[in-house]
Each structure stands twice: as structure tokens, then as C-alpha cells.
């Protein structure tokens, strides 16, 4: 079943009289099925961040549609849009800049609940909230007791776990993961990727995973969309895109990835 569908999505920036507009996203159509991981791959300027903003409707498209669970996000009233937003959450690259340093973890993780949940709204200290936050923290592999601490007391990997707990608070169906491990050390990255896989299995989550790191994408994606200059140049099952890339740009991108096996690295250089 399709959860998210983009149809002919286009976004232009600027473009005054006598000046051409910058086309950040140029006619993108794709569908994401419930429970799958679609990876969005591209280099800087490829339009992947703009595409993410469009599908979360943080930016209005110049043309085209975003359908979530069959409904067009464009026509929604503010109240309906809020309801849909509960079902789509985002985890950003930098866990340092995506939380308020003066809030305790308990308030950071509870904030979406306080904002969106009618049963909690306006009553932040409502009994039961601490238990819910504690449960969310445990789901991402942190002890419930850390909720009284501040963000600076955690490492980068722990902070990214807190970001994930916050994103899960409203029990969304879609998680947009925008370079979720790019700021992390490689051993920590592996742990966070494992956590994301486990959460997806247990909760049936749908992931849109944005990354410039093709080796990470290979490890997590069911399907891969390769973006360049605002367009999707290739989309398909991960195994096919990686093992039999159909587009010259995809091949160039794959060839450029450094391989930690020196035998392979040298063979490639020689041939």
C-alpha cells in the first residue's frame, strides 16, 4: 500500500524580471510503500533537502502534489494539516542544533505530545507524561532516568537517540531521516542504524532516508532514488541500483565511494 506519493513536484526559487529562477526540484514523481525504506541519494545541490521540505510541506511547491495516505497535503486546512503532521516526523542530521540546550530531555521528548495531543495539551505536568517519555527513551536504548538531564550531558549518538525518541512520541507512520548518522562516529553510526532497523521492524514504520553516503544507504534501503540537478535520474530496488546501475551518474557516484578494503581500492585504481 502506498503511504506517500509525489506527483510532478517542482520548486523554483527566486526569478525576478529578467532573471531566471533556480529550479531546486524539477518534476519529481515517486511513491513510498508503507513499511519500506526509500533512500534519497545525491550530492550537494541535487535538491534532496528541498524535496524533504516539500514532502513535509515545510515549503510550498511551485507545481505538483504531495499525497499522504491518499490525501493531497496542499488542500488541507491548518487543522487537518496538523493532524497529518502527527503522522510524519523528521530526524535531522545534527543532534546538537536540533534541541533546545535549556530544556530537559523530558520536556524535549514530550514537546510533540504537548503540542499535538489533545489529551496532554496545556497540561505539561500531567501525570503519566513522565512514564510515556520514559517508555520512549527505553525504546531507543536509553534509561528512563536520563529524562532529568540536559542535552549537553550526552554524546552525539545519545543525542541522536533522543531525537529519535522525540520523533516517535506521536507514533508517526512516516519518519523522514535526513542524514541521521552523518555527524556520528562510525561505531556509533552502526548502533544508530541498528536501532532504526529494529524500530522499523517492531513498529512497521516507513522511512525516507536521505543520505550522501552510499555505503550507509546500501545497508538500510529497500529502494533507492538517485537525485541530480533536481531530478531523479534513477530509482529502483537497492540491489539493482547498486549492482547494475542504469545511469552513468549512478555509476560515477558508486565508483567514487572509498572502499576500506585496500585490495579492492588498488584493483580499481589499476583497472
Amino acid at each position: 500500500m502506498t503511504l506517500l506519493e509525489l506527483r510532478g513536484l517542482r520548486k523554483e526559487y527566486g526569478g525576478r524580471i529578467g532573471q531566471a529562477a533556480t529550479v531546486a526540484v524539477d518534476g519529481v514523481s515517486l511513491a513510498v510503500a508503507e513499511g519500506e525504506t526509500l533512500a534519497l541519494v545525491g550530492e550537494s545541490g541535487s535538491g534532496k533537502t528541498t524535496l524533504v521540505r516539500l514532502l513535509l510541506r515545510l515549503t510550498e511547491p511551485t507545481a505538483g502534489q504531495v499525497l499522504f495516505d491518499g490525501g493531497d497535503l496542499a488542500g488541507l486546512t491548518p487543522a487537518r494539516l496538523r493532524a497529518v503532521r502527527r503522522e510524519m516526523q523528521v530526524v535531522l542530521q545534527d543532534p546538537y542544533s536540533s534541541m533546545n540546550p535549556r530544556m530537559r530531555v523530558t520536556d524535549i521528548v514530550a514537546e510533540p505530545l504537548v503540542t499535538h495531543d489533545p489529551a496532554v495539551r496545556g497540561r505539561a505536568r500531567r501525570p503519566g507524561l513522565r512514564e510515556r517519555v520514559g517508555g520512549l527513551l527505553e525504546a531507543v536504548g536509553l534509561p528512563a532516568a536520563v529524562q532529568d538531564r540536559y542535552p549537553h550531558e550526552f554524546s552525539g549518538g545519545q543525542r541522536q537517540r533522543i531525537s529519535i525518541a522525540r520523533a516517535l512520541a506521536l507514533e508517526p507512520r512516516l519518519l523522514v531521516l535526513d542524514e541521521p548518522t552523518s555527524a556520528l562516529d562510525v561505531s556509533v553510526q552502526a548502533q544508530v542504524l541498528d536501532l532504526l532497523a529494529e524500530l522499523q521492524r517492531r513498529r512497521g514504520l516507513t522511512y525516507v532516508f536521505v543520505s550522501h553516503n552510499l555505503a550507509v544507504v546500501r545497508a538500510v534501503a529497500d529502494r533507492v532514488a538517485v537525485m541530480r540537478h533536481g531530478r531523479i535520474v534513477e530509482i529502483g530496488p537497492a540491489a539493482q541500483v547498486f549492482d547494475a546501475p542504469g545511469h552513468a551518474y549512478t555509476r560515477a557516484l558508486l565508483d567514487a565511494v572509498p572502499d576500506p578494503d585496500p585490495r579492492r581500492a588498488r584493483r580499481r585504481k589499476a583497472g
Partner: protein
């Protein structure tokens, strides 16, 4: 092999109000002319503190070089006077950093920044310095170097800026090049080009290259030998082929296992 840089039992401490952090503990390594040595580790492993020690660039205080020596052509950098150090910096040893935008002056044209290196470090005349700029940019693989020399850093892409940094580092013909995460901020296709450029120029000019990185893929691509750092200690040293295909240390093995790769082994 002709060893240019030799680090013996280096220990570096940061004496902070809250206590002493031992960033580097008894680390040794050596780099020969024309060779690339990779120093690999995660955050906090001491790789940058080690690299900065070669030019004594760690902020002191709080940094104290508590033990060991850093020999550049047999002279211990850690005991040089400030004046002698200035002669080493930019002449014998040059550095490039991760983010070229913060290392370039945004208000000065690229060509003038390159010329300044020769004027300050080698006492070149204005005309001599200017004449060296375009060949230096050209050697770093910058297309249309005459035009680029007249541009400001913000007019260049990230890859071109890093090429400018390489040109600037090499214009004084240093014997040692220290590259601290030189491609981490770059796109993957650009990264491959910059790594090839550093390796090629290192070989051509017989430079000793010290490459600091967190990425084992980068190590495999360009390094001859590798030192693996963990929590300030060198846990494994050796030929890249040996260390990455048959690691002897548990930490190296864990690091390799955690590194995602395109092709499964």
C-alpha cells in the same frame, strides 16, 4: 627510506580547571619522503592533537607537551623557539584543514592569499610571488587559473576551495604536508579527485604526507601505512594492506566491522 618526520613517545595533555585530559599517550610514528601515512581514529582519539603537535599548534595553555619528541629532519619541534617555529610553519610543514571556507580570508582575492604565503614565509618580492600564483593554482588542478586568481573564496565551489588550500599549502614547497580531514566536507565524487591530487602531488614532490581521517575507506584509497589511534594511544601501526585486511588489534577489527561498505566482503 628517507625519514623526514619522526614522532617518538609523544604525550600531550590538556590541563583544564576540571582536571587533566591526556589526549595523546606515548604515540610514535614516522613518515618518509614521498610516503603517505594515515592517522585514523574516532572523535577524541587524539588524532588532531597529534597532528597539531607537529607544528606546536595546540592551544597552550591548556595544552602541555608532557613527553616525547617531534623530530623534523632530526630537529625537535617541541624545543624550538617561537622564531624558529615560524620558520618551520609554512616553509617545512604546511597544513590543510577540513573546512576551506574558514581557512580562507573571505575579503581577499584567492591569488593575493597565495602570494602572501611566499611574501611572509620566504621573503619573496611582490613580482616573484605574483608570478608563482598561477602555476600553483594550475598544479592543484584548477581550471582557468588566471581567472580564478582574481576571484574571492565565496565565488568558488567547495572542491575548488579545497584545491586552492592545497595550492596554498604547496606553494612554499614544504617537505611535510599535514591534511586534517581534507575531504570530509566534500561530496563523494569531489572527495575522490582531491584524494588523488594529494597523493599524486605528494609523490611528485617527494613530500611526507600525514593524512588525518576518521574514514577507513579514505585510508585504503591513498595511504601507504596507517596508525590506528584509540583514546590517545596507538593501538596498531603497519602497512595499509596488512592492517585493513588482517588487523591484529580488537579495536581496529571493531572499527572495520562498523564501517559500512558497498560490496560485502
Amino acid at each position: 627510506m628517507n625519514t623526514i618526520l619522526e614522532i617518538n613517545d609523544l604525550s600531550v595533555e590538556f590541563r583544564l580547571g576540571t582536571g587533566t585530559v591526556r589526549a595523546v599517550e606515548n604515540v610514535s610514528m614516522h613518515v618518509a619522503a614521498g610516503e603517505t601515512l594515515a592517522v585514523v581514529g574516532e572523535s577524541g582519539s587524539g588524532k588532531t592533537a597529534t597532528a597539531l603537535s607537529v607544528l606546536r599548534l595546540n592551544p597552550a595553555p591548556p595544552c602541555v607537551y608532557s613527553g616525547g619528541e617531534v623530530l623534523l629532519d632530526g630537529r625537535d619541534v617541541l624545543t624550538l623557539s617561537e622564531k624558529e617555529l615560524r620558520a618551520v610553519r609554512g616553509n617545512d610543514v604546511a597544513m590543510i584543514f577540513q573546512d576551506p571556507m574558514t581557512s580562507l580570508n573571505p575579503l581577499v582575492k584567492v591569488g593575493a592569499q597565495l602570494a602572501e604565503v611566499l611574501r611572509v614565509h620566504q621573503g619573496a618580492s611582490r613580482a616573484q610571488a605574483r608570478a608563482a600564483v598561477v602555476p600553483a593554482l594550475s598544479e592543484a588542478g584548477i581550471p582557468d587559473p588566471e581567472h580564478r586568481a582574481g576571484q574571492y573564496p565565496h565565488q568558488l565551489s567547495g572542491g575548488l576551495r579545497q584545491r586552492v588550500m592545497i595550492a596554498m599549502a604547496l606553494i612554499g614547497r614544504p617537505r611535510v604536508l599535514i591534511a586534517d580531514e581534507p575531504t570530509t566536507a566534500l561530496d563523494v565524487t569531489v572527495q575522490a579527485q582531491i584524494l588523488d591530487l594529494i597523493a599524486e602531488l605528494g609523490r611528485r614532490h617527494g613530500m611526507a604526507v600525514l593524512l588525518i581521517t576518521h574514514d577507513l575507506g579514505v585510508v585504503a584509497e591513498v595511504a601507504d601505512r596507517v596508525v590506528v589511534l584509540n583514546q590517545g594511544r596507538a593501538v596498531e601501526t603497519g602497512d595499509v594492506m596488512d592492517v585493513l585486511t588482517d588487523p591484529a588489534d580488537d579495536y581496529t577489527r571493531a572499527l572495520l566491522r562498523a564501517t559500512p561498505r558497498l560490496e560485502l566482503p
